[in-house]
């Protein structure tokens, strides 16, 4: 129980953000109206995705330094979970964009960047499948992961700021914190982000443990 307190916290925060996000007072802004509530669901998906990719890069570096197989499992499962959160982020964003910008896929640098970074991590999956030797697969894919991460940072955080974007915080627009995330929204938004990040880590640990069991099974099978 003492070890699992954060799982309870994660579920509590996410349930709170769903109830609070749908019921609490929000500022009434033109164009956005009530759809601003999607901030509580759309933005945490991206934060979680970035956070999981960051974890994965850290474990890839740790793998390259030590050669410990379990670090490779952490890296790959963090990416697998991150891709799911990326798709959820695109989905929630498309629904939102359809209502506010009138088009599920407006030609926006942040959207395109997100799509490209998802391609990058899908390519990581293809690379893993094309290598059959365990250690070689772990090493080569760790190298690609570390190599691709800085480019993804440029893609998602630097390039959209240079061109005009519909998203706040880009192309000279102030960030969300600046004008429309008032104190009413903060009490739901921050817990939602923390909650979803913890949920992402929880899913990753579950997937990691499944992979560990499968791997042990494989080893005992080959041994007999």
């Amino acid at each position: 129980m003492t070890k699992n307190w954060w799982k309870l916290l994660a579920s509590g925060l996410v349930i709170y953000s769903i109830i609070g996000g749908l019921l609490f007072e929000v500022p009434h802004l033109p164009i956005l109206h009530e759809s601003i509530r999607n901030v509580y669901f759309h933005v945490p998906m991206w934060f979680t995705m970035i956070f999981l990719y960051l974890i994965s890069v850290i474990y890839s570096i740790k793998y390259l330094r030590s050669g410990n197989e379990s670090y490779d499992f952490w890296a790959v499962e963090a990416i697998n979970t991150g891709i799911v959160f990326g798709f959820l982020g695109v989905l929630t964003g498309m629904i939102w964009a359809n209502f506010t910008w009138g088009d599920p896929w407006p030609n926006d640098p942040k959207l395109n960047g997100a799509a490209i970074s998802t391609l990058m991590y899908l390519a990581y999956g293809v690379l893993r499948n094309s290598l059959d030797e365990d250690q070689k697969r772990a090493r080569i894919s760790a190298i690609y992961n570390v190599f691709a991460f800085p480019v993804m940072i440029v893609l998602l955080f630097i390039l959209p700021r240079l061109t005009d974007s519909l998203h706040p915080g880009n192309g000279g627009n102030p960030g969300f914190g600046g004008y429309d995330l008032d104190s009413h929204m903060r009490v739901v938004f921050y817990p939602a982000c923390i909650g979803w990040i913890l949920i992402g880590i929880w899913i990753t640990t579950l997937r990691y443990r499944i992979r560990l069991i499968e791997n042990n099974k494989l080893h005992t099978l080959t041994r007999n």
């Binding site: 490209i116 094309s130 290598l131 059959d132 190298i143 800085p150 240079l162």
Partner: protein
Amino acid sequence: MNILKQVKILIQKEIILEWRSKYAFNSILLYVVSTIFVCYLAFKQISPITWNTLFWIIMLFASINAIVKSFVQESRGRQLYYYVIATPEAVILSKIIYNILLLLVLTVLALVFYVLVFKNPLGDPLLYFVSVFLGSLSFASVFTMISGIASKANNSGALMSILSFPVIIPLLMVLIKLSKNAMDGLDRSVSYNEIGILIAINVVVITISILLFPYLWRD
């Protein structure tokens, strides 16, 4: 033997090998020229924006084809030999520098032929040349490391494009913007931002390549 000397000798080796066979360079030059000619026959006349974008797309595919060979063509035995005589950092640095030179020559020749076929006024030829130089630099630095990664896998040809496209797209977007500024002849101060970003990304990519290559190398 210090690393700079090793790099110098390895680049000389690459150039001599290339000069003896002239196979890689000629084939890739022919590839570019025929692609441009196919585009010319298909398009006949194109708008300036398409002109600029088409040039970079042709160069993207040509560069991938030029660089994919850089690790595959050498046998395992010969790679082992380099490992004995030189440090891995020197090997990757020499490959990157050689590929930059190769692509620079290729891109300039391609640009000359491209302008010859598709007549299009260049507003600021010097800045366009800077963008061509930065383009060769970016393609070479990204693709060299990726070709090293892809060469370890089974079907490296297809894998090379899958792995390199997502990584090169941000650079390509900035490059197209920079070269469009140059084509339109905008004031140079408008483009400083793009030049800065391209140089910064390249420095990061080359540094990471040098840091990661020692892990890729051993088998």
